[in-house]
């Protein structure tokens, strides 16, 4: 064979590859230019035509409506400690519910702790008051640091963060002393462990304290997943392994089955692409979560946040009919993971929702499969 022809053929392939890459990028530019800004995802949809709230009616501050929790928080901010105290104590020994309710009160305490001071003055040894005080400080530390990456966080912010976080550790220990059976003070320390970069060994000791008190605690697992993920003290592998084990060991029907979806999203976000949804393991996790959600009791306090992560996972997996159904059930809220990771949660939520609807239309509006 003629040498030149052979070589020429080779370079020809190179040139073709280069040209096709160029064309692809041009196509991408055109698609991007053609995409209507608010809806994203390819084309504009009218959400109301699908039983969904329009973009300008979506609440970006919460995952769902929770009047009782919001009332407790408002009372706390007004300086009343009795209402929040009763609200928290009504959770009894449903530790995950207690943890969820604690969130509203800690949020208030991080803003203004007058009610905590009054509560502690009235009942110095009240474990709930000590808990709200401790977790309020953890939350305050987070507010001081801010949510941006280390390179966008100032010395002043880090100093304040570390000062308050160190104080909150003592407060957590005190709360644990007052209520030895309650896992909450230990769960609050998971955030401290993350912020102060505890070693894996030290973290495992803390985690053992949590699971010995509440083995399938949803909030604790979500907090620990953060410690295990690559942006904090772990890695993709560690995070997926943790989530997989938690889901596998949870009782049948437990919403912990959705924990792997939070891990999948952490990776999606960090990698900046959706390749992970093509893995069979992801498909299996999405399916398992979808089944558990379909069977969950309607008023379960963890259901809304699980629907948000599930809706995104279904959309990214191309299961548009199921995704559309979840978006309908979510209602006019987008203050939840995954959307809150983005600069504009509303845009991320709207974009995913529009993609799901458009995909469902393109597929000829298939019915949601039976569980």
């Amino acid at each position: 064979m003629d040498v030149l022809t052979a070589l020429g053929g080779g370079t020809g392939v190179m040139v073709v590859a280069a040209v096709s890459a160029y064309r692809k990028s041009r196509r991408a530019q055109r698609v991007a230019a053609a995409a209507p800004a608010p809806a994203g995802g390819g084309r504009a949809i009218d959400p109301t035509a699908y039983g969904m709230a329009p973009g300008d009616r979506i609440d970006t501050t919460k995952a769902s409506s929770d009047p009782e929790g919001e009332a407790a928080r408002a009372a706390a901010l007004a300086g009343d400690w009795r209402t929040p105290a009763a609200y928290l104590e009504a959770a009894g020994s449903d530790w995950d519910l207690r943890w969820r309710r604690l969130g509203y009160l800690a949020e208030a305490a991080a803003e203004d702790d007058a009610f905590v001071k009054a509560w502690q003055a009235a009942r110095p040894d009240d474990p709930s008051a000590a808990l709200v005080h401790a977790d309020g400080m953890v939350m305050l530390a987070g507010k001081l640091r801010g949510a941006l990456g280390a390179q966008h966080t100032t010395h002043e912010q880090f100093d304040a963060f570390h000062r308050v976080l160190a104080d909150s550790e003592a407060a957590c220990l005190r709360a644990a002393e007052l209520a030895p059976e309650d896992p909450s003070p230990y769960i609050a320390r998971i955030t401290i462990a993350r912020g102060l970069g505890w070693s894996h060994e030290r973290f495992r000791t803390l985690w053992a304290e949590v699971v010995s008190r509440a083995p399938h605690h949803f909030g604790a697992h979500r907090a620990a997943l953060q410690y295990c993920c690559a942006k904090w003290q772990g890695s993709h592998e560690l995070m997926h392994e943790f989530a997989r084990q938690a889901a596998a060991s949870a009782p049948p029907g437990d919403l912990l089955a959705a924990l792997p979806l939070f891990a999948v999203f952490e990776q999606e976000y960090r990698d900046g692409n959706e390749d992970i949804y093509r893995l069979p393991a992801t498909a299996a996790a999405v399916d398992a979560a979808w089944r558990v959600v379909a069977a969950a009791p309607a008023g379960h306090h963890r259901l809304p946040e699980v629907r948000h992560i599930l809706a995104n996972a279904l959309e990214c997996s191309g299961r548009y009919a199921e995704a559309v159904e979840q978006f309908q059930l979510i209602g006019p809220f987008c203050g939840a993971v995954p959307w809150t990771y983005y600069g504009s949660p509303l845009k991320a939520f709207g974009g995913s929702r529009a993609t799901a609807v458009a995909g469902w239309e393109d597929a000829g509006r298939p019915a949601v499969p039976q569980v």
Partner: protein, 558 residues
């Protein structure tokens, strides 16, 4: 003698007077020629492929042939462009460092240098310069690629004159004369221009690669646009720098070889120069000078950082001559001597860099000390600074030409006053901030009285804030304000105590400039400040502390 890139660096070999000069010159030339040969080789190789294919092909101008020619042109172009066609700007000659001193001004030092040059049997330098670094070096303005000798220059660092005795300085001078005698400085220019040519090419190719990378990244970004349109974060694969990146790597590899070989040669030159010093001034003085070099260098750094330049930001400097001259105080302090003495073993542990033009000091010291004793003493000779006539004025003159120009207008103070003014200046910002927050231009004592009786929360809210602190609300805002208020209040208290003569800053050569407070104040102040800035502020402890220190304040309103 030890650090700093030196134009005098260049290949040298083995004992003085050996095969040295010609061999080293040829090596330097070969390394430089090799660089151009590498470039020509790449271009020539591509050309050869084209020609061979064209000759052996039935269709030399068919589509395949044209593609190959195009690809070789794409590869050859950047090489031709960066190696042969770009005009390399010869850097504008920088003004020579330091102060040139003639034989009339410094007869004793010149006599010393000339005498040592005579003993060694080499031509003495034509110029002597005193510089600011703890270092010495020589260079020679050669002609015809180093075939003809030229004007010789020697630089001696003032810190060495301050820190060494005369025997040690002799060793330094003898070492540098060794470079002249060994003709190291003749080859230095050639090596230097070779290094410049290689570095220029690698740099230019890197720049081209960076431009390619930017263009490629833009293309990749476009393909991520779909995900972005969904409101999502995207991350695209690493863009590549293209052919220039590959070429840059090839030339960087050659540059690595170049530096490794030339550094290896120049390390041998250093050993040879050390041997020259041993011959001239004795084994022990040479070893002692080598040992003490890093000590003086460290002491100089420390002196400049902690003493001489502490008032720089506030426009304050020590008296003329003391910026460098103060090093003598530091070296004379017994505690410091001991501390610095402990540094030596660490210097010996330092890892060796293959591109270093000097062998590791421990190796040089060991080489010198392994020679038989020659009975020549190191001690008994006075401080080297005594070789200067009018040493104080001379050091001040070196300062004048080596300090940055803005030093000219600065206030010069004696050491105690410098410490005091610098100490006060460190606390001025907090006092000024409180003054503005209170809104009245009060003297410090009146300002403190105002702060101790006024609404602390309101005053704190008016202190300057970072954007993050301004954006915060409620408890977070309080947490941001707390350290700002505490620090400003602390500044104010210290200034008031200093004004009353209760606190003062003093300079000690045994430890850094420090604030001296009465023991009771030093013990109680942190807790008193904490109480004053607590959520429920309690200013009583601070009030008591100040009263005990003899500064009663007007009674609090509540």
């Amino acid at each position: 003698m030890r650090t700093a890139p030196r134009p005098a660096d260049g290949p040298a070999l083995l004992p003085p007077g050996g095969i040295g000069f010609l061999a080293r010159g040829l090596l330097a030339l070969a390394l430089l020629a090799g660089f151009y040969l590498l470039a020509l080789g790449i271009v020539g190789g591509l050309l050869a492929v084209d020609v061979l294919l064209a000759v052996n092909s039935a269709h030399p101008f068919g589509l395949g042939g044209l593609k190959v020619y195009a690809v070789s042109a794409v590869l050859a172009y950047p090489v031709l462009r960066t190696v042969f066609l770009t005009h390399r700007h010869k850097p504008a000659p920088e003004p020579l460092p330091g102060l040139s001193v003639g034989p009339a001004e410094q007869p004793v030092l010149w006599e010393r240098v000339r005498q040592l040059a005579d003993e060694y049997g080499t031509r003495a330098p034509d110029e002597l310069r005193l510089v600011a670094e703890a270092n010495a070096q020589v260079c020679e303005d050669v002609r015809l690629l180093g075939l003809l000798p030229g004007r010789r220059r020697m630089e001696l660092g003032i810190p060495l004159l301050i820190g060494f005795n005369q025997a040690e300085l002799d060793a330094v001078i003898a070492h540098e004369l060794g470079h002249f005698g060994n003709k190291d400085t003749r080859i230095g220019g050639l090596t230097h221009s070779g290094r410049r040519a290689v570095a220029h090419t690698v740099h230019a190719l890197h720049e081209r690669a960076a431009r390619n990378r930017a263009a490629h990244a833009a293309e990749l970004a476009a393909s991520a646009a779909v995900r972005r349109a969904k409101g999502r974060r995207t991350r695209t694969p690493q863009a590549s720098g293209g052919v220039d990146q590959v070429l840059a790597r090839i030339f960087a590899a050659y540059a690595g070889l170049y530096l490794t070989v030339s550094a290896a040669v120049s390390r041998r030159q250093e050993i040879a120069a050390d041997l020259a010093a041993v011959r001239l001034v004795g084994r022990d003085a040479t070893a002692s000078a080598l040992r003490r070099l890093p000590v003086i260098d460290t002491a100089l750094e420390y002196h400049l950082h902690r003493y001489a330049m502490v008032g720089w930001e506030d426009g304050l400097l020590p008296l003329p001559g003391q910026v460098y001259g103060g090093l003598a105080h530091l070296l004379a302090e017994p505690g410091r001597r001991e501390e610095l003495g402990r540094l030596e073993p660490e210097a010996a542990d330092a890892e060796h860099d293959p591109y270093d033009s000097h062998p590791p000091l421990p190796a040089r010291i060991a080489a010198v000390e392994s020679l038989p004793p020659d009975g020549r003493a190191t001690t008994g000779s006075g401080p080297a600074l005594a070789l200067l006539s009018a040493p104080e004025r001379t050091v001040a003159e070196v300062e004048a030409v080596t300090l940055p120009p803005e030093s000219a207008g600065m206030t010069r103070l004696d050491w105690p006053e410098l410490a005091r003014r610098t100490g006060r200046a460190r606390h001025a910002a907090g006092v000024d901030a409180l003054r503005q927050a209170v809104g009245r231009d009060l003297p410090a004592a009146a300002l403190l009285a105002e702060v101790m009786t006024g609404h602390l929360r309101e005053i704190a809210d008016r202190l300057p804030k970072s954007p993050q602190a301004r954006a915060a609300t409620g408890r977070a805002a309080r947490e941001f304000t707390r350290p700002v208020l505490r620090s400003a209040l602390s500044d104010l208290v210290l200034i008031v105590l200093a004004d009353a003569g209760t606190a003062d800053w003093d300079v000690s050569w045994a430890e850094p400039v420090r604030l001296r407070l009465p023991d009771a104040v030093a013990r109680g102040l942190p807790a008193a400040l904490d109480a004053a800035v607590a959520d429920v502020p309690d200013r009583q402890p601070l009030r008591t502390l100040l009263a005990d220190a003899g500064l009663p304040l007007p009674p609090a309103p509540c």
